[in-house]
Symmetry: C2
Subunit: 520 residues, 2 copies
């Protein structure tokens, strides 16, 4: 099977294949332009006659569960990143596949992390054909160097749900690592030694996979409450000694930045939002868990307090800062997709207004609406932005694929999308003539905030009008680019081969760009 | 279209049609014998491009919502009985259909109540072709007299979910009446003037219907928490003045019986369970909201207290009695499908251990297990039982179809099913040579408890063994029948025509029996 063929130019002007790993895909047609015509995927109808009356689905170990699930060559196996870099289960799954001599698997993680470097030998020996999911760090480097047998496919969190729901990706076996589960398979992430908050990334897998295995180190008697994963979707339950490494589950990035430049960017972002009238009594926002984003959240809190306002909700990635705002009463709800620290986990466990969500509720573009477009403000990162406000979040300017898309593409549908980014990183300018990889068309990006000025997308005449007398350092994006190049010089283009090693999906399942092999 | 054709004898020896309202159905093959082979129904893939970015799906009124949903001749419209006899919305839907001149609709309620007598003119004039769902009271009488144009199809709560999930019933428009909703369509039953507890009967409809309309009298700002119905499945939201009549929402049956005979039956049932060793530390049970069942629950509570035991969970229909047990700490959880009084609603709103469930989690036989089979004891009513322990819950001995199946068939999968029933009602014996309508094969019924003795199904040799020296008034079912007939005389058989007016589905979607037209 060819990794890809039939290269066309899509609506964003990017060269993309339409046959990927032997299957047909639609090239990007423009935001909101592709109209799905089919029906959602229908998994096989089960019958209670095949499941134990007493509800006890525990089997001896993961190997037995995989064998009973019918593991064989060419299957698609999904895992999830609720434990982030503390995941132990994905490696265990493929150790077993290797032991059983199973080949050509498609690994369909909700994200991969450096801990999954362990899988590189299996990518080399053909146990795993390819990864469809983010390839952070070592796996991304491996793919970037053209070493993966199949073509990588990167999807946003919402795009992953969409692909499962629409039958674009058929999961044979979903392995869901859970901090707590009962023998029936009801599972949650709020209790247990490895408590990580929630299991939303596995929701679609539980609903649509042929076979679903729940792996936990904390089996509790039925019923495991709350049931973030319904046991009614689960085939087998496996008890392991340790489902994740707790100290690595929690992201290390949940500290307010101390960098003066980043603090400046954060403060300018908040001031911009205030001056542009984006913050009001009842507003909503989403900011990530990085140091700059956290700092912006704190400034938002200050603005709310000063005015006696209350935010209606925060979409999160939660951690102690949004939790403090919730408990203080200046935020009505946290609608949470992923907790980033133990305070987030505690709050989710205890506070009914700290609500667990999923890519289905928050991000799925092939639903009857989702939460992302209701947000007033979203604050995101980017590796590169170009003069047309096109943005990249997966590759660095040297061409290496080192990051996943996450919820980034999905949240772009917020009313105002702001990228607070440094003007350069390691003396490499962030604003380019053209992005190395297109992850978002420029029309989705409204504002760029850098330490040396703010550029508003010309499409947002309303924001330009509202801030024209604000005293903020407003510049054109060309001006920002020029300033960076004055300091750092004009950057060289990445040395890339024509060979495609991965594609980037848009939120609607169309192919927005290709990632090229790095020449080194 | 013929209402039915192709009569065959099914595995229970009953005559049933295999072509019903023009569609093919499978005759009952025995418990656990029918194996589904297909795939779950896949509803059309939606796209956020068709839904408002700000999440506001409110339209002017229900008529506009139905027109926008494409209401037309022959469609299937579903509604739900969360408000029981206080429902206002189903009548409103068909008033609009009549006004618009739409004909031949299939009404697919989760249950109908006497308040829906209002719809009889629409059944007569062809606005509604037929009801697929329970036909309590006046609608049952109407159908029993052969007046409904199409054939009635009765399903259990679990069977209704199964039929939707499997694509056996394709819902064009689901209208979900909700005590609280936000403009996005997130909805719940725990808040608002018409708070009824939960909306679980509408879950399958929301997941699988082409169009979903939420109707509420309490629109709250996004997000309506908890979201028992996900707005991501909802097309339109409608605000009405009153979504249900609160005083009729709550069942009138939640009073402990004062009848000496029924109290005796309740006490004997509890004593039987105790003597047979069915009650233990960690046991689970389900009892309905009728006076006898409530009384049995209280006796169970006494037994738990006496022994210092704690029940692991109650499956309910909740009301103040199970809630008291939960709050007292002699029960771990209430897994609730339907609240029957305001104490149940309050507890569900406040207590995380009072959990809302759905026919999917509790009852769907075409899932990977369900909760019903995990129960130790279920206590149910019946209109008739025969000498082979076959039971009827839908027709009276005069042949009139006056009750729905509800969760009755589904809960029969509990480890022990007990029917506490009076030996006769209005001097008509309850134990018959043959049931008028077969709703459950005798192998599913373990024990009959009457005021004059207890009959154990001979299949349950374990129960017979355990209670043989208990001092309980154990008799054969023949003995009980003879005693009743000594008092009341031998009952006449119902005068029934050969004409079939409805069929009864088993939990797996097969046809277990036919209901005949009454000759009067």
């Amino acid at each position: 099977m060819e990794k890809y063929k039939n290269i066309v130019t899509n609506a964003a002007g990017r060269q993309v294949p339409t046959i990927i790993n032997g299957e047909e895909h639609v090239p990007f047609m423009g935001v909101g332009k592709y109209r799905p015509t089919g029906r959602k995927y229908g998994p096989p109808i089960a019958t209670c006659a095949d499941y134990p009356d007493d509800g006890n689905k525990i089997v001896a170990n993961l190997k037995e569960a995989l064998i009973k699930s019918g593991l064989k060559d060419g299957m698609t196996i999904s895992t999830h990143h609720h434990f982030r870099n503390g995941d132990l289960i994905a490696n265990m799954v493929f150790d077993i596949a290797k032991e059983l001599g199973v080949k050509d698997l498609r690994w369909f993680p909700s994200a991969s992390f450096p801990c999954h470097e362990h899988l590189i030998p299996y990518l080399e020996d053909g146990t795993i054909n390819r990864i469809e999911g983010s390839m952070n760090g070592p796996l991304g480097k491996f793919a970037s160097e053209g070493k993966m047998k199949g073509l990588g496919v990167l999807r946003s969190h919402g795009g992953r749900y969409q692909a499962i729901q629409d039958g674009e990706v058929h999961i044979d076996i979903a392995v869901i690592a859970a901090p707590t589960a009962d023998p029936f398979g009801n599972a949650n992430g709020v209790n247990g030694d490895a408590a990580c908050g929630l299991l939303g990334f596995a929701l679609g897998d539980s609903q649509y996979a042929d076979r679903v295995v729940v792996v936990t180190d904390n089996v509790v008697p039925f019923p495991a409450i709350p049931w973030q994963i319904n046991g009614n979707y689960v085939d087998f339950v496996v008890k392991v000694d340790k489902v994740g490494i707790p100290e690595k589950i929690i992201s290390g990035t949940t500290k307010i930045t101390k960098s003066p430049d980043r603090l400046l960017i954060a403060e300018m972002t908040a001031r911009f939002c205030e001056q542009a009238g984006l913050i009001y009594d009842g507003f909503s926002y989403q900011a990530g868990a990085g140091g700059t984003a956290l700092s912006i959240g704190n400034y938002f809190g200050d603005i709310l307090r000063k005015n006696g306002w209350k935010a209606s909700f925060i979409r999160a990635g939660s951690n102690k800062y949004p939790v403090q705002m919730l408990e203080e009463g200046i935020v009505g709800y946290i609608l949470d997709g992923q907790t980033f620290d133990l305070e987030g986990v505690r709050s989710m466990r205890e506070n009914p207004n700290h609500v667990w969500t999923s890519p289905f509720t928050s991000y799925n573009y092939h639903g009857k609406g989702n939460f992302a477009s209701m947000l007033d403000v979203v604050v995101l990162g980017a590796t590169e932005v170009d003069l047309n406000f096109n943005a990249n979040v997966v590759t660095h300017s040297d061409g290496y694929l080192l990051h996943g898309i996450g919820g980034w593409q999905n949240t772009l549908f917020a009313k105002t999308t702001i990228l607070p980014i440094p003007l350069f990183r390691d003396r490499i300018p962030v604003i380019r003539d053209e992005v190395t990889t297109l992850c978002a068309p420029g029309e989705m990006i409204d504002v760029i905030v850098t330490e040396r000025g703010i550029a508003i997308n010309p499409l947002r005449t309303d924001l330009i009008e509202k801030t024209k007398n604000s005293g903020l350092p407003l510049k054109t994006i060309q001006q920002l680019k020029d300033e960076a190049e004055e300091i750092c010089g004009v950057p060289e283009k990445a040395q890339l081969s024509d060979e495609i090693i991965a594609v980037i999906k848009w939120v609607d399942g169309t192919v927005i760009d290709s990632v090229r092999k790095v020449i080194n």
